[in-house]
């Protein structure tokens, strides 16, 4: 009886350890602008967290510290048990496990859609071409772009490009997905196709941190809404609480602006 008990205990502990843990993170830009002011946030496996807040509040900068695209000066960030430090040797090992989707898609224009998706698994994970091709095919099918696999990104619409970008990030089989305003650069009629892909991804159990202003998506998909303002987290709540009964005046002000 002793053995199963300890296993259960270990499993409980494992899920209790957040996969993303930011503790008192401070960041100043080169011009001394204090963009992150002692932020702490924990994200657990399988959780979907939506970061909202006015522009300039530091949301994007904050999630970009999770894969070390941005450095920070004080505090700690621990991703899946590994602390990100300025002098760390193998930052690529973290980035492999953290997928990112950008506002401007950032697809590689000189590669075809399928090559965009295959590149990192081959170059970083060392997969064979056929392995990479088969997973790229699966992912492109999942995001509904398989019939465009041989085209170049410039030949696709914005919504299609963003779905390819999601497939490209997923091809690395990351443990965490970061979305940095993924629909902000899209024409309105293309927002939905991207949100649908994100919604399916959330339902599959992916850990996601999304910076977005899509209220419908946040309400339906998020486990937790985090509101940032002036480099600080001012409110953390479930979508129900947040949208129906925001507590902080900054949240109320923000919601009145985006919902009007």
């Amino acid at each position: 009886m002793q053995q199963p008990h300890t296993q259960d205990h270990a499993a409980v502990l494992d899920t209790a350890v957040p996969i993303i843990s930011a503790q008192g993170v401070d960041k100043w830009y080169a011009n001394n602008f204090h963009v992150l002011k002692g932020i702490s946030l924990e994200v657990h496996r399988g959780e979907v967290v939506v970061l909202m807040g006015p522009s300039g509040s530091g949301k994007s900068t904050f999630i970009r510290t999770f894969n070390a695209l941005e450095a920070y000066q004080k505090g700690r960030i621990i991703i899946d048990g590994t602390e990100l430090t300025p002098k760390m040797k193998n930052v690529e090992a973290i980035r492999r496990e953290v997928g990112m989707v950008f506002q401007q898609f950032n697809l590689f224009p000189h590669l075809t859609v399928v090559e965009n998706v295959m590149l990192a698994p081959m170059e970083v994970r060392g997969w064979s071409k056929s392995q990479a091709k088969s997973i790229a095919g699966e992912l492109l099918e999942r995001v509904g772009i398989l019939n465009q696999a041989k085209k170049y990104p410039g030949q696709l619409s914005g919504g299609q490009q963003q779905r390819v970008a999601i497939a490209r990030a997923l091809a690395m089989q990351p443990k965490i997905m970061l979305f940095d305003e993924p629909t902000s650069a899209l024409d309105p009629e293309m927002v939905r196709e991207v949100l649908d892909v994100m919604r399916n991804l959330a339902q599959s159990g992916m850990t996601m941190v999304c910076v977005t202003h899509e209220v419908g998506f946040a309400r339906e998909v998020a486990d937790r809404i985090v509101l940032m303002a002036d480099g600080q987290i001012v409110e953390e709540a479930t979508p129900d609480e947040f949208f129906s009964n925001p507590k902080h005046p900054r949240s109320q002000q923000f919601l009145s602006q985006i919902l009007s």
Binding site: N67, L69, E92, A93, R95, R96, V98, G99, M100, F102, Q104, N106, L107, F108, P109, H110, L119, A120, E123, V124, G154, A165, R168, A169, M172
Partner: protein, 217 residues
């Protein structure tokens, strides 16, 4: 005194043209190799390496090629006690000159690749060398081809300066022939025509490439 026919003059000029072409080719490809290394230094994350390469580029860009030729030709013999041939001096001077300009052209192209391309490849976990090789350089090369070919024209014309240190190429040969024939206008016109025939196709090609790459995206 020997009479020079038009065909005679042309034949002599064309023989010397071989050396113009050879010197241009060596300077361009040698300059390309050195220039590629300098370009990598220019975009290095290390500020000391960046500064060293910047100084290198600025020195060669901000002094006349003619001075560089003199300094290599006379300087190396004074400083190192070596007697450098005109051929070697011209090769060294034109290679370093080309390397500085090509490094600058290519650095500009690398910097014209949007920052998001670096970020996306970093976010996927690609190490720096692979980011450069697979993502940044392929895009930079496309952008730099027109200006690189355009610079080849400058190199061909630049080789004419090697005549002043006694290297016998097209210009030097033209001046020798005109000294004998007393027909400088005719001889230099023919030399100019030969330069034109070398450079004009290059410059047309450069313009064609510029159009070709600007329409693709």
């Amino acid at each position: 005194m020997q009479d020079f026919t038009l065909a005679n003059i042309l034949a002599n000029l064309l023989i010397a043209t071989r050396w113009t072409i050879a010197l241009s080719a060596i300077a361009f490809f040698g300059g390309g190799i050195v220039g590629f290394i300098i370009m990598l230094m220019r975009i290095s994350p290390n500020p000391i390496i960046r500064t060293i390469s910047l100084i290198y580029v600025e020195i060669f860009e901000a002094t006349p090629l003619l001075m560089q030729l003199f300094l290599v030709f006379f300087g190396i013999s004074v400083l190192l006690g070596l007697n450098l041939s005109a051929w070697a001096a011209a090769t060294i001077a034109l290679t370093t000159y080309s390397s500085a300009f090509l490094a600058d052209i290519w650095r500009g192209s690398v910097e014209a690749v949007p920052r998001g391309q670096w970020e996306a490849s970093r976010a996927l976990g690609l190490p720096y060398i692979k980011q450069l090789k697979r993502i940044i350089l392929p895009q930079a090369v496309r952008m730099s081809i027109p200006s690189t070919v355009g610079f080849a024209v400058q190199v061909v014309k630049g080789t004419s300066l090697a005549s002043v240190i006694g290297f016998i190429e097209l210009t030097r040969s033209a001046s020798s022939i005109s000294n004998v024939t007393f027909q400088p206008f005719l001889v230099y016109s023919m030399a100019a025509l030969i330069y034109f025939c070398l450079c004009f196709p290059l410059s047309l090609w450069s313009k064609h490439l510029e159009k070709k790459f600007s329409y693709e995206g």
